[in-house]
């Protein structure tokens, strides 16, 4: 076998190994850690600094913000949190008191910073107005009853 082929095979084998290892890191205890992640995710919002929490949503009264935020949610967030934000495979429900009761500024802070150690990416890659549109949409959803949320979370999974 030529040296270049050996190198390519070694690289592919390394990637397969890495992929398997990453599965161990990211998936193995997925079901049991989802509950912990959920708690961690909700607890994270309480860590928003006071200054961030007090920020007002400049698009709160923008009529288009809910629709635009809904589109952004489907494109970027629904994969983890479910199409109706009731919780999905990887992300917890956003229609719970912990989220709906948070200030728009705290939600904006959470979106901006993510929960990187628990798998939620930072969303500062979206420009600020788009993050405020997302906040407007999420706040428009309201709290869903625990039974209904559990049912739709099961169907999302």
């Amino acid at each position: 076998m030529k040296t270049s082929n050996k190198a390519a095979m070694a690289a592919l084998a390394m990637c397969a190994l890495l992929l398997a290892a990453s599965q161990g890191l990211s998936q193995s205890r997925a079901s049991e850690t989802l509950v912990k992640h959920k708690d961690y995710f909700y607890a994270e919002i309480a860590k928003a600094p006071e200054k961030a929490r007090q920020r007002l949503n400049p698009l709160e009264t923008d009529h288009d913000a809910v629709t635009a935020g809904g589109n952004l949610f489907l494109q970027h967030c629904a994969e983890c949190h479910g199409d109706s934000a009731d919780g999905g495979r990887k992300g917890p429900s956003l229609r719970v008191q912990e989220i709906q009761g948070a200030t728009p500024g705290a939600l904006f802070w959470l979106l901006t910073n993510g929960v990187v150690r628990r798998g939620m990416p930072v969303w500062s890659k979206l420009p600020e107005p788009q993050r405020w549109q997302l906040v407007t949409y999420i706040k428009s959803l309201g709290v869903k009853s625990a039974d209904a949320a559990a049912q739709s979370q099961q169907s999302n999974q």
Binding site: A8, M14, S28, A30, H76, N113, V122, P127
Partner: protein, 295 residues
């Protein structure tokens, strides 16, 4: 099976995989050389194809191409495999080599300047022409050797980058400082890449559309070599300035285009780069299922 058939079958399998899996809208920056601080989302795989057409004074122009497989292992670790090759006109097509790259995000939260650490192992031929980074005293004359001669040289290199990136009023500013060590007895080489970009619109449209301005991002990047340990600086180095534009389609595809211009006589006069990328959501889950695991 002939290599042509292998290529066709491989391409069909890849195309089937790409079209058969669900994509998510990737909010990608338009940079081709510069890195910002955003990592791949955990469990997602991004498959990218890039081309570079380059002019060559006193020699044959070339078309270099590479595939990238970028996987988000965790929220703070992204790993990537590169395979590349090149065609030198009036010469031949050769395999360029393999790169394995890892990026780590050390900080939990966003800051005014966000650092990312980058480590890459490269097993590349002397015929490698993708110009994914410019380092040391890389100059246009290095590309004059025929492919037959250049492919005989094999380099094992480690590359380290400090990636710094900031967002200000919709703009992204990224600075990369790189250090490369050939694992044979050669000195450390240095280089840089700088980028600035902005989406064409900061607010999203309430309509779902492919041509909405928020789906486009434009900017400029500049990159070049900074010599080596014994002769650090701009002497006998090459530098490029390249406008960049990206189009993020709602279907999960991203297109990038970048005409690059050499800034001195050591640089290729013109580089035309373009790329297409597809983000596959939930790739980690697909693999988990293949191994008989459910999430």
């Amino acid at each position: 099976m002939s290599s042509a058939w292998r290529t066709v079958v491989g391409s069909m399998l890849l195309a089937g995989f790409l079209f058969g899996t669900s994509g998510v809208l990737a909010q990608e920056r338009p940079y081709i050389v510069t890195y910002d601080h955003y990592l791949e989302e955990p469990g997602n795989l991004e498959i990218e194809y890039f081309s570079t057409f380059g002019t060559q004074r006193q020699g044959n122009n070339f078309h270099a191409f590479w595939m990238e497989f970028e996987y988000g292992v965790t929220g703070w670790w992204t790993t990537e495999l590169y395979l590349d090759g090149q065609t030198t006109f009036h010469d031949s097509t050769v395999f360029g080599g393999v790169r394995w790259e890892n990026r780590f995000r050390p900080l939990k939260h966003e800051h005014f300047i966000n650092p990312v650490l980058y480590v890459e192992y490269e097993h590349i031929k002397g015929a490698d022409k993708i110009l994914k980074e410019v380092e040391g005293h890389d100059v246009e004359l290095d590309f004059l050797d025929s492919n037959a001669a250049a492919r005989r040289e094999t380099n094992h290199e480690m590359e380290f980058k400090l990636i710094l990136s900031s967002n200000v009023k919709g703009w992204n500013f990224s600075e990369n400082i790189l250090a490369v060590k050939n694992l044979t007895n050669e000195p450390w080489e240095f280089g840089y890449a700088l980028g600035a970009s902005r989406p064409l619109a900061l607010k999203a449209s309430p309509k779902r559309c492919a041509f909405c301005p928020q789906n486009f991002a434009a900017g400029v990047e500049m990159y070049g070599g900074l010599g080596d340990r014994y002769s650090f600086g701009l002497h006998e180095t090459s530098h490029y300035l390249a406008p960049v534009v990206a189009w993020n389609l709602p279907s999960g595809w991203t297109l990038r285009l970048s005409p690059g211009f050499g800034l001195n006589d050591n640089s290729h006069k013109f580089l035309l780069r373009w790329g297409v990328a597809r983000e596959v959501s939930g790739f980690g889950s697909i693999v988990a299922k293949m191994f008989g695991r459910s999430e």
